[in-house]
Assembly symmetry: C2
Homo-oligomer: 208 residues x 2
Amino acid sequence: MPREMDRRAARTRKALHQALLALMLRKGYEALSVQDIIDEADIGRSTFYAHYTGKEDLLRSGFQMLREELKEAQSAASAGAEASHDDPLGFSAAMFEHAARYADHYRTMIGGRGGTVTENEIRLILSEMVRQELPPTLHGDAVPRDFVVQFIVGAFLTTLNWWFERKPKLSPSQVDAIFRRLALEGLSQLIGDERRQVDRPDASRDTA
Amino acid sequence: MPREMDRRAARTRKALHQALLALMLRKGYEALSVQDIIDEADIGRSTFYAHYTGKEDLLRSGFQMLREELKEAQSAASAGAEASHDDPLGFSAAMFEHAARYADHYRTMIGGRGGTVTENEIRLILSEMVRQELPPTLHGDAVPRDFVVQFIVGAFLTTLNWWFERKPKLSPSQVDAIFRRLALEGLSQLIGDERRQVDRPDASRDTA
DNA sequence: ATGATAATGGACAGCTTGTTCGGATTTTCG
DNA sequence: CGAAAATCCGAACAAGCTGTCCATTATCAT
C-alpha cells in the first residue's frame, strides 16, 4: 500500500466516496449500480475498477475512517470517566455526539437506505465497542452475555434511526438521555404496571 | 382477485413461494435473481411475470399469510389474558411461539439474509401489534411514544435473530423469559452498578 | 526536459431483466 | 365426453449492467 498516494488517485477516490454518499442518501445502497456511481462522480469505468473491486469494496473503505474515529471517541470517553465498569454505557454520549457530527454518513448506514452489508458492518463495530465496556460478570446467569451485547447494539441502532427519521432537531445529549432511560431502566417503569411503581432512586445521583 | 384460483395457477404460485424460501435460506434475498427463482421452481419465465411483477412482489405476497396468522395469534393471546394494559407485552410469548412454528420463514426475514425490503415489512407488522398493546398513557413524558414502539420492535428482532443464529435449541418460552428480563427490567440490574442493586419486587407476583 | 510510472476512457463479450409472441396443455362447464 | 376458456411454456428481443482489456494521456522523479 502506497503510504503517500498520487494526487490523482486521491482525488479520484474522494470523488467516488462523495458520489457514493450522495447516491446512498438519494436511492439507498442496494438500488445502486456501479454505473450510477461513476456517472455521478464523472469517472471512467476502468478507473473505478482500478481502485476498487466493486461497490461493496468502495463502501467498506469508506467505513475505515469512521471506524477509527469512533474508536478514538470511545477511548477518550471511557478514559475520562474511568468508571467504565461502573457505568458500562458511559460512552453512549460520545457515540451520539459522533453520530451527530457525521450525520450524513450515519444516515446512509442506518434504516432502509443502508442495506445488508452496511448494517452488518456497523453492527460489528458497535458490538466490539459494547463488548469492551461490559463488565466481566453479569448478575445472575439468566441472560447470556452475547445476547446482552446484541441487545444493546440493537438499541443503539433503533435509537439512531428514530433520531434521524423523526426528531433530527434533538441534540445528542437529549437523545442519549432518552436512550439511557429506556435501555437501562427498562419498560416496566414507563408502562402501566402500576403495582411495581418503582421507588425510583430519586434521580439525584450526581450532575446531569 | 379471483376468489378461487385455477389449480394450475395455485400450483405455480406455491412452487414459486417454495423456491423463494429455499433460495433465501441458501443465498439471501438481495443476491437472488428472478432467473434463479424460476430455475429452482422449474417455471417458465413468462409464467413468472404473469403472476408477479418481480421478486419483490412475490416476496410480499408470501408475507400475507404469515401476517394474518400472527395477528390471530396476537388476538388470541391478548384475549385470554384480558390484562392487555397491565402486561403490555403479554403477547410476546405468542409471538415467539409463532416464530418457532414458522422458523424457516422467520429465518429468511431476519438478520443478513432478509435484506431491506423484508426487514421493513416485518418491522411494520410488529410495530402495529406493539402499538395496539401499549397503554394509552406512559409515565412521564420523557420518552416519546413512537420511540418506545420502535424500541420494542427492535428488541424483538434482536432476540429472534440471536435465537436463530446462536441458540436454536431454546424453547419459545425460554427465549421469551430472557427477552422480558432485559426489555422490561433494563440493563441496570444485570450490569455492575452495585449501588442501585434494586430491591427487586421479589418476583412472587402471581402465577408464571 | 525526459523517460518511467500510473491513471484514464472507451470498447468488448457475457449476463440479467422484463416483454411479447404463437402454440401446446390443462381445466372447467355443458 | 367434448368444446371453449384459461393457463402455461419456450423462444426471442432490446435494454442495461458488469468486469476486463488496451491504447492513450497525465503525472512523477531525476
